[in-house]
Amino acid sequence: MEVLAYLIPISLLLGGVGLVAFVYTVRSNQYDDPEGDARRILNDEWDDKPRP
């Protein structure tokens, strides 16, 4: 049962990482245009090199 001493903190940490990542996406306006972002990946304009 000692394994719990590692696993529980790890599970909490992973949950925390997920939460922080989500907070980051909200703060950087990544939910402003869900429909547009979904279509933008189909655009082949910057396929060869990244947009300058």
Partner: protein, 725 residues
Amino acid sequence: MTAQATPARAACPGCVAAPVESTSPVPEDVQIALSLPGIHCSACIATVERELNAHPGVEAARVNLTLKRALVKATPDIRAAELIPVLERAGFEAHELDPGALSATQTDKAGRDLLMRLAVAGFASMNVMLLSVSVWSGATDATRDMFHWISAAIALPAIAFSAQPFFTIAWSALRVRRLNMDVPIVLAILLALLTSIWETALSGEHAYFDAALTLTFFLLAGRYLDYRTRAAARSAAEELTALEVPRAIQIVDGTEEEVAVASLNVGDLVLVRPGGRMPVDGEIVSGQSELDRSLLTGETLPVFAEVGLRVSAGEVNLTGPLTIRATAVGEDTSLHRMADLVAIAESGRSRYTSLADKAAKLYAPGVHILSALSFLGWYIYSGDIRTALNIAAAVLIITCPCALGLAVPAVTTAASGRLFRNGMLIKHATALERLAEVDTVVFDKTGTLTSGVPELTDLGDHSRSDLEIALALAEASSHPLSLALAKAAREAGITPAILRDVVEVPGYGTEGCYRDQRVRLGRAAWVGGEDGEQTAAWLASGSHPPLRFTFTDSLRSGAAEAIAAFRAAGKDVILISGDAQGAVQALAGKLGIENWIAKALPQDKATKVQELSDQGRHVLMVGDGLNDTAALAAAHVSISPASALDAARVASDIVLLGNDLSPIAEACDTARKATRRIRENFRIATVYNVIAVPLAVAGLATPLIAALAMSTSSITVSLNALRLR
């Protein structure tokens, strides 16, 4: 559109007046917002961004497909009026938006706040659920206690943060001694936490930390959906307001200055160019023109305007530039006075109780009584306050309104999303439910069933030589009738005759010389014809008597389909218009409407709608003008096209964003389906409660059963709602 200064290469070739110097340049970059109602795919995004970025002076352009909008960062000398033709050449409809009216939506604080709370509740509930699963699958003694304590350590701060919206709403309801949906929610969450901590401290077997968190999570999800739907409607409504950039040209000491309409005072001189809308009520002091009053009165015939005529805000100037002296501005204009009428009628509408409110009225007291009774019963039976409290908490959690809290927002979100994709904007929260009850549809004519654009009807009755002269004269003017005549003649392959000295006489028509003969195209009185009831332009050429060209208002696309669909669905269709008898009769005949009223005053329209309501009918009013505003507000539910006046849009529950009318009939169908789904969802939620509540009252409910019942009911109602998409 409001009168506004356009640079030299303006989109409208008919702008006769010289461009005004732009206001003094600001050194910073400017933000220009453009509405792009036609974009729908990745190719559209790419084309729009490429075209805009290629335009000199544009620094960055970004399309938002969700909002169908483009935001352009550009150097200060760039005007939206330059960018619109660029996009129109690329095949996209574009309109300027007033960034001032949009700024409110830029920072959506409330939405973000809810989303954060939702995320915290979600992540916390996942972690606690993980620990709870270990307990349910057999962890005992010290391990179980440790898991419970860790759960408590996560749940307490998470709930303190994420359940705040419920706490505040419940508290504000309790303070005025009322019950709402949030009171039992808060009670369930707090009681669950309290008994769980008590149980954990006594090494008890059952803790409800996971239930308290999932409850918060599902309810926040419902709240967030609800918020999103309303925010989307609000931002789109704001966009419509922003479409009318409120600028006017004021004449100060003989020079023209572009100013905000709000800064105009009584007595100011205002210049209104052809095509511009009157920003204020006033009196014409110089110039001659014709006025289109259709938005205010429903009349399609333009009115001759000369010095001394009183004009009202909202009328459109057609041919010559007019200078008016303001007699009433802002709130005092006849346009705004209508708002009072609307406010009176609206108070009646707010009396409508939505399905959700009806459910909450039954639910909130029921749950409290049930849980109090089980507490009392068990306390009397066992004499143990701990057991009794545990069972009362279990009853509250199991009856939790998760499913109820999701039942309505999930359906309205799905339905509004579907209608929005079809070009309809639901502004009012209960509009869908009211739309589902409609049995009578009242239409306005001008601007609603018709597009307000004239169409030549008797091209074939005229000789080719006459048409050639008429075309040459028509092409020298931007009057709607001239444009219609020119379009029809060009389409018929007519080439214009060669004329000399063509001049437009504002308010009358155009004249020129053809083989040393004077030719005229214009108003009956000026050319020598007789004024009739029909919209007509007259042509005088040579010795023979003046020729009459008649016009009709062209039908809006989808109007025939919408009316056919309503009739097929067994609804009564009525046409009420302020226009002349002949025009209304002709249109009613064309569309097969038997029930029509012509020459109706604004009060007549509202009275007729009220009469129908008094007969117990549920009236859907579709209208666009100022003369419809009172009727729109008096109806059970109302729809106005996006081209309507601001006052009419404010008064209506639903705004039609596109030009096509056919989505209206479909909207009724969607609304009926949505109401059916909401009722189904209530039934599903009830069935779950009927099964689970007896278990809870009997003291057989475990946290596992509570978690299962809660999650399955919430997921079932959400999936049921998604069937509507």
